[in-house]
Symmetry: C2
Subunit: 297 residues, 2 copies
């Protein structure tokens, strides 16, 4: 596989930093340049050897760049696309790590309409509890899914190269239209995050919150783990994907209305049947996927 | 501590079996007799050395019994209380392991009104993924909370003895009125279980369920772990505590209605603030409790 002479990472946090380390591990990046809004993060990434250079501007970073990864929260993508547009060379490939894909695609069409052949959106289904460059590690993407949502205007060679680079980071490549991507992740990721944030917020506001939390056990621990996620990142995801998320939330509210009716009417038979069906589906899923290296997020 | 000559376990599953093994470990039970609705479970418990004898009836089991643990799903407690009432000796102590306490208390008042001095309700906050006698282990209660909800009619010496026995199983003893118990656990345990069952059921019914589950990652895994719980046990809990659970569900639905309004109006600032407050509360709880030996359930 052909090496990257100059790899540019926009946003050197957990994802961007791990991508840099994975590319180093693969021996495929000759020089790695970081760009970002927080100088202290860049300085730390430099000190940790994640990047070779901290660029002071997109213009400096993109000069002579072969490959660019945009790894900022999706709420910043529109502004970043606008900033990079004037400095992007005709042969520079761009991919991103945004958790939503319709909004990223729209930002690309808004700002990078002259570079559409070479901008290939992607979403690595990987993450960890912690964030920032110090949390980055080279094996983050090993065995994890990366969903690529190519644009119709993408050059096939560009899509192939982006697949190849993510695969070199250890990932298993999937492809999907951006609308499908956003609907799928609204259901299995964005909604659960919203529900977990909501439950913790609900209980934390009670007069007896201290007592409640004092008796919370392992079910609560696991159910609410994702309520410890990064608020800005999840605000951006929820806002970017709010159409699909609202549709999922409404379907879930209908589910809860049904369960509420079963409780109210004391229909224990249907309630048990409901639980039983859910348990079967959960166990089937666990048998099929949990034996493997499941994606953290 | 005074030994138990004849310990009777009603329902020798994960909880009842672990109680028996913990009492054996403590060297406090001279003879352990099991009773239950499934002869094959009793035979297995006997074979595994969890019990010394499988009684064919409550009458036989209770003859000469010092101490009785009722460890069946709470939906069976009323019938069990009715069955044991005529055979319970004047000095036999009774406790239970029901996950709800108001309904157990009501069943006690209905059927054991002549033995109120010696029947002390309790709820061990402990459990595991698996169920049945083969899942039982002696250390299940070590460091876990047991919430005792004494009746006003309980003899103080009986409450003390029940505390002592649970403590001998390794548990940390708490006391609470049954109404408080049921409200607390509706919030931190019963509601999350209902929500997790609901989400999995919702997604499993979709035409693209296979695709959705294929992209579910670690957030989904942890959020839905409790949807793998025992359907009958959770049906009983939800039904027994449906008054408190409905109140919790309605408060949560109000929370979701608020989050829905933020999404609809695109109020990203308030959404982030909401997530941020939830994350702080979750992290504070995790710092305070997760370092310790948290109760599984």
């Amino acid at each position: 596989m052909v090496s990257i002479n100059k790899l540019v990472i926009g946003g050197v946090g957990l994802i961007g930093g791990s991508f840099a380390l994975a590319m180093r591990r693969a021996g495929l990046a000759k020089r790695i340049v970081g760009v970002g809004r927080r100088p202290e993060s860049l300085a730390q990434a430099l000190e940790l050897g994640i990047i070779d250079e901290a660029a002071s501007s997109w213009q400096a970073a993109l000069d002579g760049a072969d490959f660019v990864l945009l790894a900022s929260p999706v709420g910043q993508m529109d502004a970043i696309m606008a900033q990079i547009a004037p400095h992007l060379g005709p042969n520079t490939l761009v991919t991103d790590a945004g958790s939503t894909k319709r909004d990223v695609m729209e930002a690309i069409y808004r700002h990078l309409d002259r570079q559409l052949a070479n901008v290939v959106p992607a979403h690595p289904i990987a993450g960890a509890e912690r964030s920032g460059p110090a949390a980055a590690f080279a094996t983050l993407f090993d065995g994890k899914k990366v969903v690529i949502t190519p644009l119709p205007e993408n050059e096939p060679a560009a899509v192939l190269r982006v697949r190849e680079v993510w695969a070199a980071c250890g990932a298993v490549i999937h492809e999907m239209p951006p609308q499908d991507h956003d609907r799928v992740f609204a259901a299995v990721s964005h909604l659960p995050h919203l529900l977990a944030f909501g439950l913790v917020h609900d209980l934390a506001g009670r007069a007896n919150a201290e007592q409640l939390f004092g008796y919370a056990a392992s079910g609560f621990r696991d159910f609410t783990r994702i309520a410890g996620s990064h608020p800005e990142m999840w605000r951006d995801i929820c806002m970017a994907n709010r159409q699909a998320l609202l549709a999922e939330l409404d379907q879930y509210l209908a589910e809860l209305a049904y369960l509420r009716a079963l409780l109210l009417s004391g229909d224990s038979e249907r309630l048990e049947q409901h639980f039983d069906e859910a348990r079967k589906a959960r166990n089937d899923w666990a048998d099929k996927y949990l034996a493997r290296n499941i994606e953290s997020e």
